[in-house]
Every structure is written in C-alpha cells, then in structure tokens.
C-alpha cells in the first residue's frame, strides 16, 4: 500500500490543518467535482472533518448536498479530486485501485439502502461473501457467519435466498455482512430508506447496539431526522460544504 504523502491528488499546496492522528477518519481540504463538457460541477468543497473511533455519525443534508459522495469517498469507493482522507492512518486517496479494493475488504463494512445482496446466494452465502477474500478455513468462516447471523437474529433464515426474506430481514443480512470482517468502519447509505417505520426502528436499534456494545464506528447518510437522532453526532452538508 502507498504511504501517506503530504501533497494532494491534484498536486495542490498542503492542507492548512494537519490530519488528526487521534481521529479514525481525518479529512483535510477534500474536494470533489465533476467535469461535464466545459463546466466544472463542484460536489464537495474544501471539506475538513474528523471522526473518532467509536463515533456514530449521521450525515444529513438536502438532495444533491454531497453527503453520499462524502460517504463514498470515506468508504474508498470513489476518489477525490483533491485533498486527503486518512482512515486509521492510511491516506486512502493515494491508494491504487487494487490496493483500495484490498483496503476496503479489510476495513469497511457496507450497508446500502437497497441491501445489495446477491440474489443467487442464500443469507449465509451473502454474509460469507467478504470472507471469501480472506484466508480463513471453511469451518472458521462457518463459525463467523453463524455468529453474525445470530447477532442479527437470522439464524433460522440462513438458507433463505434474499427474495424469500422481508426488506427488514434483508437489511439485517446486509448488516451481518458488514460486520463479518470486523471492519474498522461501517458506512451506511440511507439504511432505512426502503423500510417501513417499525422495521426502520429495528434496524436503527441494531446499528445503535453495534455502536454501543461492539464499539463499531458508524457513518450513516440519512434524510430521516428520526434516524439521525440515534447518532451521537450530526453533520450537515449543504451544496458541498459542511455547515454547523
């Protein structure tokens, strides 16, 4: 993996603030823009943000404010136009695509709005998926998956395909999948956006427990103020800029 460097991806001057070595996620001078023809469309502008280990952060803001883009950058599934993103000391903006894939596999658990489960794999197979990239034996994988499914209360649904599960159950499988590698960070993009209020409450309760009881650092994008209430910290974005 590349070592952190004190220059940004566009070769700009170093950020005014140094990365916070105490923070799990330390973002400095982060910008993201898209080029469409002659136009440059800014999505995120000069973001500085620190997230400590064990935090439960809710990213809020109107549509198009850049909250999902910020989440994608933190999760390493998108690359910034400039700036630094240090996660557990690694500047992920500097990593190659291959290194970034390895980094994600080891450090990030994903929870998506539409669950993103593999329709041809059972609940067990979906939870096991990230472990296929590890050197764990079959029995070790089984043990871990059984534990994760028990944690989300789906032991009896292990052999079910996603289309045989309710939305809430599918999201619980996705949470088990996000947990299975014991990642540094869990990112959740509108995890309750496709669920009814009761089920959404159950999922949020589960995320809360992961944070409180297992000490997982969670960064969640949400439109829902009730979901945001579960977080310890709210971060608002408007037009690509952090607002207090």
């Amino acid at each position: 993996m590349s070592s952190p460097a004190e220059r940004d991806t566009a070769g700009h001057a170093p950020a005014a603030l140094p990365p916070d070595s105490e923070a799990l996620v330390s973002i400095r001078d982060l910008s993201k823009y898209y080029v469409r023809g002659d136009q440059i469309i800014p999505v995120l502008v000069d973001i500085d943000l620190d997230v400590n280990a064990g935090d439960f952060v809710a990213l809020m803001g109107p549509s198009g404010s850049g909250k999902s883009t910020l989440l994608n950058l933190i999760a390493g599934i998108d690359k910034p136009s400039s700036g630094h993103i240090h996660v557990a000391g690694v500047d992920i903006a500097r990593l190659s695509d291959a290194d970034l894939a390895l980094w994600r596999a080891a450090n990030v658990g994903f929870i998506f709005q539409f669950y993103n489960l593999m329709p041809v794999l059972t609940a067990f197979g979906n939870v096991e998926l990230p472990l296929q990239l590890t050197s764990l034996s079959r029995s070790e994988r089984r043990e871990r998956v059984d534990t994760a499914l028990a944690l989300v209360g789906l032991t009896d649904r292990a052999t079910h395909l996603p289309n045989e599960l309710s939305g809430g159950q599918q999201q619980r499988v996705a949470i088990a999948r996000a947990l299975i590698t014991d990642p540094t960070l869990i990112v959740a993009d509108e995890p309750t956006g496709d669920l009814d209020r009761t089920t959404a409450g159950e999922i949020l309760g589960m995320l809360e427990r992961l944070n409180d009881e297992l000490g997982k650092t969670i960064i969640m994008v949400t439109h829902d103020p009730k979901a945001a209430e579960k977080a310890h910290r709210l971060i608002h974005l408007e037009k690509g800029v952090l607002v207090d």
């Binding site: 999760a75 599934i77 998108d78 291959a98 994600r104 041809v120 794999l121 990230p130 999948r177």
Partner: protein, 384 residues
C-alpha cells in the same frame, strides 16, 4: 466451490434465456460438425488413397475406356510392380435410391488394395466363382447381405440384370477405409459384353499401377503416358490421390460454400451469445459494483462473466458434439453410399469444441471489459 457455485447459479438465473441460448449453441455446433463432416466425406477418398498407386485413364475423359492390352505395355514400364484394372458398372440395386459404387475388377486388383481386408477363405471363394462378388462391411450391413446371398443388379451402362453371389465381406484396415463398395470379376463382365456387343469388349475404364517406390510417381506417370502418346487412346496417369481430388474438384464451389456456411453459423451464434452476455452483464452492474465495493477486484468480476459465458458455451458445445453423432448416422443412412466416408472425425470434434470455446470467450469479451471498468458508484446507482 464458491466461484463455480456462483457462476452456475448466475448462469441459470434466467432459465428460459439460458436454455434458449444453449439450444442455439447446440444447433450451431451440430450444424458446424455436420457441414465439416460432409466436406471431410468428400475428401475421404483422396485422404484414404495410397501414394504408392497410380491411376491411368483416357486423356480425353474418364468416360472413354482404354484397350485392355495396354496392361501388357504398362507392366513393362520400369518402376511398376503390378497392374490391375477396373470398370465402373453403374448398376441399380432394386431402386435408384440404393446407390453404391460397383466395380468390375481384374484378378490382381485386390492384391493392390491391402486396406480391403478379406479372409483367405472368402478370397478363394471369390476367385473361384465367376459370378461371385465381394462387398464392404458397411454396404453389407446396410442391405443385410450375408455371404452366399444372390444380389441382382440392373445394369444402366451394361444392359440386363446381373445376378451376383456374395462370396465375401471385406473390412477396412483403417477407420477411413471405404467399406461401401461392391466388386465383382472383370472377366464376367467382359465376356458377357463381348457376347452381346463385341466391339465394346476388352476395354478397361482405368488401370491401376503399384509403384516400387512412391517417390518415382512422377517419372513413372510420365513414362506411361509417353508410351501411349500419338496412339488412338492417349492416357493420363496420375497418383491415386490426384485422381480422387479430380472428382472433388468438380464440386469445389459447393464445398467452399459449405465450408463458408459452417463458419457463418458459428459467427451468427457468437453474435447471439454476445448479445445475451451483454444483456446479462448490463442487468448485473449493480451486483458487480457491490462485489467491488466489498473488495473483489475488477478481474474477479470479469472472470465471473467469462466463466458464465464459457460454461454456457461449453455445455452447448458438448451437447452439440453429442448430437452430431446420431445426426451424422441418420444423414449417412439417408444419403446412402453417396458419401461413403461419412463419419465424424476426431478433428471435427476438436474443431467443434474449439468453436464452442471461441464462442464463449468472444461473447464475454466486451461485457467483461465493460463490467470490469464500471465505476462502483455508477454501478450502485443502477440499483433501486
């Protein structure tokens, strides 16, 4: 087991689509195999011919025969160890549909063709019976002939019904040896013809010469033809292979067309399969993006598509190869003995398998490239 299981389940996610694609590949691979086999059958005679034999015929046309006394002169040409002759009979067994080749042959003819395997007892029985005949195993099996059967053949070139007694059934020494020909004594034909049409007697359709050394083929051929230059019946001598290829050349345009069609069939199914794989990959961009988000590489995603495409193509290919054999058998029995060497060769099977692999690889190439390059965030947007 994870990847094969994933590939298998993905392949059969749309059962109808996959089944239809496999059926298409089966049809294409079977058609490819059949067309290749037809072309092979055309060349079978030439491929099975010996380089140690020459064939001498009239230089004007094969239709014209040569005086039988040429045999004496040919025998004196240096480099020749044996001379035989044969006449095309062209008769009809029961109906015109039962076509097979019949030759009236000289006594020395069979000795020059060791690939026709006949037991000593059958050989002796044939030699001893003036109206005796021998038939290849394939031909005998087709008509259910047994040694001792009376076989009536109606002549078209030589009038009348000629009844032969089957004295032997020869086997082929090699897989490609033609066993669908019928032989009887030249003397029987010649004597009968001389009685009815004296001027048509003592004529041979072709002479066959056994060479001492196959490397002398050109020199000996030239020597034979020189012997009969400026005579009333000039000769054209060539190797047996060249003689056989002369027949093939008459149908060369058709053969080229058949070969072209066989490849066109593969190209068509390749396009159909590529469309299927493109559609499949496009539908799954969200899943591929999820795989990548979870840490799987671009190569893994491409491999999934290649594996699925190859799996479908190879399954269709193997079934297509399996179907080719009964199809070829049915075709061979329908066309009778017109294409005597009609059998699916190992080379054809290898080509069919290779075609299936090429179909799988080519069909997956563009979808795999696109899926590997799709950005995770763009792929995730496809879900919802």
């Amino acid at each position: 087991m994870f990847v094969p299981l994933l590939v298998f389940r993905n392949a059969f996610r749309h059962k109808l689509r996959t089944t239809l694609t496999i059926v298409g590949i089966i049809v294409a691979i079977t058609a490819f195999g059949m067309l290749r086999t037809i072309v092979d059958a055309w060349y079978a005679g030439a491929n099975a011919s010996s380089s140690a034999r020459l064939v001498t015929r009239s230089s004007v046309s094969l239709v014209f025969s040569l005086p039988l006394n040429y045999a004496q002169k040919i025998r004196q040409v240096p480099g020749i160890t044996s001379v035989g002759w044969a006449n095309w009979f062209g008769g009809v067994y029961i109906t015109e549909r039962n076509f097979f080749a019949q030759f009236a042959i000289s006594p020395s003819y069979l000795e020059m063709y060791p690939e026709f395997v006949l037991s000593d007892a059958e050989r002796k029985a044939f030699a001893a019976d003036r109206v005796g005949a021998i038939a290849g195993r394939k031909l005998a099996d087709k008509f259910g002939w047994k040694v001792g059967d009376q076989i009536p053949i109606r002549g078209t070139i030589y009038p009348g019904t000629w009844t032969f007694t089957l004295r032997g059934i020869y086997e082929g020494a090699e897989e490609g040896t033609d066993t669908s020909t019928f032989f009887f004594h030249f003397d029987y034909l010649n004597e009968s013809i001389k009685r009815q049409f004296p001027r048509r007697g003592d004529q041979a359709g072709v002479f066959i010469e056994q060479l001492r050394d196959p490397d002398e083929a050109a020199a000996v051929s030239q020597a034979i033809d020189t012997t009969f230059r400026n005579s009333l019946a000039e000769t054209l001598t060539e190797t047996e292979k060249a003689f056989q290829l002369g027949f093939v050349a008459m149908s060369e345009a058709i053969l080229l067309a058949i070969q072209a069609v066989s490849y066109v069939v593969i190209v068509i199914i390749m396009a159909v399969m590529a469309n299927t794989m493109a559609m499949t990959a496009r539908e799954r961009y969200g899943e591929y993006a999820t795989f990548k988000a979870l840490g799987f590489s671009n190569g893994f995603v491409a491999m999934l598509i290649f594996a699925e495409s190859l799996g479908i193509a190879i399954l269709g290919g193997v079934l297509g190869i399996a179907f080719t054999f009964p199809m070829a058998e049915a075709f061979a029995s329908t066309v009778g003995s017109i294409l005597s060497g009609f059998q699916v060769s190992e080379e054809t099977v290898a080509m069919q398998f290779a075609a299936a692999v090429v179909i799988g690889v080519v069909a997956a190439a563009v979808p795999a490239w696109n899926a590997a390059r799709v950005r995770i965030v763009d792929g995730l947007r496809a879900i919802g």
